[in-house]
């Protein structure tokens, strides 16, 4: 690996971490769409900053961009508060307006600046190592690594300091407000960090793909854990993982690095969406199938409880009587046997004491939602969970 290759992967990884942290909170606050808006509407801020400094990596650009990012949020909320349109419409109104101001500014002054829309939207990680940070002639490494590294350090510092405040204001803004832990400050703080991160990352991955880096790792992590800290950690791991594997994918296929990173993110999300242990698609389908069988089990047990006569309780007659397919009858019988709810004697099925108790309690639970005794059965039966 050349040092340029290492540097590119390092920059990509730091960008991914810096994006995953605010991204996690944005996903939990159902504000994914606002990153889309911010990533576009920071353009006029960047352009104006660039006109003043003529330096694409000047801190003023970041400040101006962050300001226009926060302005986006303020405008969206202002329009929303009029009550005339909903939030999604307000977002759709604000960011194209700000973005187009940026586009016009670039077009008007395109002759004397090295700033074009493609560079802003797509970024180019491959060029990042060429722009060095020099202190009195000494090469300190790629400039963009310094910028995004600083942003990451600030983000981490804020996260550690205000983790509790962020959590409570995200989960229950009313309580946070009543406790004097101003959710408004947290909201705009998060928006500012998101804007700054977006502009710090845009140099490397572009304004569009930064959305993927913010949302996809967090959304993937959300499917895998019930713990906020773990969610943050997983989002970071997914971000870094796809940054590095995306780089090598681009290397092998000789294509865009940021495009490959985002593709890997998408593939990871798809994989987790399908196979996640609890929230994944297959897991949900399996649970639904189990629930179907368990409903059948209850129906079957209830039928046994209602009928004393032997011909109603013969194994072979069950297919016809309850009108089930053979496979279903078998899996229901197996489930009942496994849980000691029935005994089969000479092909005549009878309820055990446990089976009788279970049937009464389960029906009672389903009808009234009252029985707390069902609690110890919940772990074994999907039917009674959540």
């Amino acid at each position: 690996m050349s040092s340029a290759q290492i540097e590119i992967q390092l920059i990509a990884s730091v960008v991914a971490i810096a994006c995953a942290i605010p991204g996690t909170f944005l996903v939990l606050r159902k504000m994914a769409l606002i990153t889309d808006a911010i990533s576009h509407s920071i353009l006029p801020g960047i352009v104006i900053g660039f006109f003043i400094t003529h330096d694409l990596s000047s801190p003023l650009l970041i400040i101006m961009a962050a300001a226009s990012g926060v302005l986006t949020v303020v405008l969206v909320e202002f329009i929303q508060k009029t009550g005339l349109v909903k939030e999604d419409t307000a977002i759709g109104l604000v960011f194209p307006a700000l973005f187009s101001i940026g586009i016009i500014l670039i077009a008007q002054n395109a002759n004397d600046v090295h700033l074009d829309v493609d560079a802003v939207l797509l970024g180019e990680l491959a060029f990042a190592p060429f722009d060095r940070f020099m202190i009195s002639g000494i090469n300190m490494g790629p400039k963009s690594l310094w910028i995004i590294g600083t942003i990451l350090l600030i983000t981490l510092g804020l996260l550690f300091a205000f983790f509790k405040e962020l959590k409570v204001s995200t989960f229950d803004a009313g309580l946070a407000s009543a406790m004097g832990l101003s959710p408004v400050v947290m909201h705009y703080g998060l928006m500012t960090v998101s804007s700054i991160t977006t502009v710090g990352a845009f140099d490397a991955v572009g304004a569009i793909l930064v959305i993927a880096l913010m949302i996809a790792p967090a959304a993937t992590a959300y499917l895998l854990t019930n713990d906020l800290k773990k969610m943050l950690l997983l989002a970071v791991i997914f971000g870094v993982g796809s940054a590095i594997s995306g780089y090598w994918m681009a290397h092998i296929l000789d294509t865009s690095i940021s495009g490959s990173m985002t593709t890997v993110l998408g593939i990871i999300f798809l994989f987790v969406y399908l196979f996640a242990p609890n929230k994944g698609l297959f897991s949900v389908l399996y649970r639904q199938r189990q629930q179907r069988i368990e409903v059948s089990l209850l129906t079957f047990l209830l039928h046994l409880g209602n009928h004393k006569e032997e011909e109603e309780r013969h194994v072979k007659h069950l297919n016809e009587h309850i009108n089930w397919q053979k496979v279903q009858s078998k899996s229901v019988l197996d489930l009942a046997l496994k849980n000691n709810m029935i005994i089969i004697h000479n092909d005549i099925v009878s309820l055990t004491k446990k089976g009788k108790k279970f049937t009464t309690e389960a029906i009672d639970y389903i009808v009234t939602n009252k029985n707390s005794e069902i609690e110890n059965m919940k772990d074994r039966f999907f039917l009674f969970r959540g």
């Binding site: 009029t82 019930n226 009252k370």
Partner: protein, 245 residues
Amino acid sequence: MSEKIAVRIDDLTVAYNYKPVLWDIDLAIPEGVLMAIVGPNGAGKSTLIKSILDIIKPIAGSIQIYGKPYKKQRSLVAYVPQKGSVDWDFPTTALDVVMMGTYGSLGWIKRPGQKQKKASLEALEKVGMLAFKNRQISQLSGGQQQRIFLARALVQNASIYFMDEPFQGVDATTEKAIINILKELRKAGKTVIVVHHDLQTVPEYFDWVTFLNVKKIATGPVKDIFNDDNLTKTYGINYKVSVQQ
């Protein structure tokens, strides 16, 4: 009952987009009462609580908690928002939600420690939810979620408790459990203010009641003012409930 006033509201007017939802409310809530706020949908019941807790800014009027503005008395007040106001899919556990009740006394930046954890576990035990401490909150039933919210308020160890529809969507067992805890709080000299929907249970559960419908209709002891006259004035139709005294 002492005649100390826990919450005093003068000339409170609250508006959303310049449309008043609370008009010129005067209200004095004595210390140590278990009070229901009743009124039809859109009467401003939740808004009243949120205004007292400084979550919503009123356009006029003043609110005092034991003679001082809310901002100086936060530590005396606990709040249970409507269950539906939060996202129960949030990645966190029952214990963690209860711990959030300690955040107010901790203040900014400081993290909860062993002391806060111990208090939270005790609160969970009090509401009968200790066995569920590590359960993810979306895996709890509606009644259990409400108990978690109650535990979170208990851990705030306040003098005044505000609860927004704590009986909404809970089963009968939980409702009994909650009301018993509220009655215990009153016995301990706390003031408990509850937005309540089920008029039938008002005489059984509460000793004080406020009728609200944008304006304050009446406030006072349940045995004196919980009658068809006030109910009709509040709900606008000829309202009859069988009041068992």
